[in-house]
Assembly symmetry: C2
């Protein structure tokens, strides 16, 4: 049943991971891609570690059934909770969004005071503090959960007085900690980049992990000699799978992907 024998697999709790697809297409136009969005069980950010590990494992098994050569975990909650389990149990290269984001933030920071915003689950997981202290034990990390941001982005209130007010409240501890690099630790947050930037001020670098993980994927493919031989950009196959009905995903895809996702099918990953 492999549909794209040498594709890169990407999974996310829903639609937000299309921002990673966008960057991968940009950097690696010749690579076939298989995307899985778990839209029937979205979101992951309010679920437990055990449940997120279970769902993530089902997603990985689905992508492996499609013969992918590498997997990118586009969801920050899944990366936070499940990446150690996944890399321990599967032999394929599996990349998450935590480490690339942390590396970019440390590179961008002059003061060593960096921040991260994410879901309750991501912030509670301890994954970011662990990644920061592995890389730079002297760096200081401030975290804040911003659960309403996803829903404000989905409402389309991206340039809105209410969103600005909520952003001021959520981001207060980060301003107080005087961070100079802030990781947007959830795939939806880049949609609110202008409000977040306005509240944080122009001296704070906003780190969007989608670009970072795509660069990392490019490096790993090269290192392992897995880069797709033919660079026939427009002809590379891109398949999209979702666990809820495809229509809603297709309609919203433009916001995250920059264009409408075609070739979207529904699957039930819980039954594999």
């Amino acid at each position: 049943m492999p549909s794209a024998p040498s594709a890169i697999g990407i999974f996310d709790s829903g639609i937000g991971g299309l921002t990673v697809v966008k960057e991968l297409v940009d950097l690696l136009p010749g690579e076939p891609l298989v995307y899985l969005g778990d839209t029937a069980r979205v979101p992951y950010g309010n679920k437990s570690r055990e449940t997120v590990v279970k769902f993530s494992t089902e997603n990985v098994l689905f992508l492996l059934h499609h013969g992918v050569k590498m997997i990118v975990v586009a969801c920050h909650t899944a990366s936070s909770f499940a990446l150690p389990f996944l890399t321990r149990h599967f032999s394929h290269p599996i990349l998450g969004v935590i480490e690339p984001g942390v590396e970019a933030a440390l590179a961008a920071s002059r003061s060593g005071r960096i921040g991260v915003i994410g879901t309750q689950a991501t912030v509670g997981s301890g994954a970011y503090p662990a990644a920061v202290s592995r890389r730079d034990p002297k760096a200081r990390l401030t975290q804040a959960a911003c659960p309403l941001f996803v829903h404000l982005a989905e409402e389309g209130w991206v340039d809105d007085a209410v969103t600005r007010q909520i952003a001021r409240r959520y981001l207060a501890p980060l301003k107080q900690a005087r961070v100079d690099a802030l990781i947007l630790g959830c795939t939806h947050y880049p949609l609110l980049k202008s409000v977040i930037g306005e509240v944080m001020g122009p001296r704070v670098a906003l780190i969007d992990s989608a670009r970072q993980v795509a660069l990392k994927a490019q490096g790993v493919l090269k290192e392992l000699g897995l880069t797709h031989p033919a660079h026939g950009g427009a002809f590379a196959s891109r398949r999209f799978f979702v666990t809820d009905e495809p229509g809603h995903f297709e309609r919203l895809s433009r916001r995250f992907l920059g264009r409408r996702a075609g070739n979207v099918s529904r699957v039930d990953v819980a039954k594999i």
Copy 2:
């Protein structure tokens, strides 16, 4: 495997259905109850009809495995999308929250202009307009989706300037339509009752469907001769099942149930 041979089964997409449990305990203290909250797949309000019907069917099968005599669908989205399917395919009495809420709103309204607020899915389903026109073809219904309300309630921002501002925005079409009865068409909305009441004004009756469906359940049990014989209030067994880890559910339960839910177990209803 029946654990409570003559219990009432209640299911919800998550924790909000505990408001229905609270009313059932109050009205029918001697009845054993089995509650299922699908916390691993919550929310239902942004999912498709097909997915909500599938999840609801799995929930019903789980409750039937526990030998319940009747099922109450506490979730408005599940009631909107799945109730016709469930009542057609299962022989047990299955009650939803739509009809009882509509009956109460029509009874409370003097003008015949009633309103309902709910999730995107509930509002899009057409279930409320259909129920209203079945009962009173001359009544005028105005609907509004309020997707952020659930998340504001879960943030605990129940008496808050931001919530008030969002409520004014969401409720504007209902004020404009001059409704005098408003159905709180989602289990979380009663938590925001004071802000909603403040925005709508004192002349608008707010209808909380939890009480209404409990009264309906009492009537149906009596009619079918299924009322539990012994009214040993404190001794009636109450079991709670969730699909994600029980701890979070237990901690939040007080907000919905008025006291902490004990006896909470985790189950995987997708594997039945």
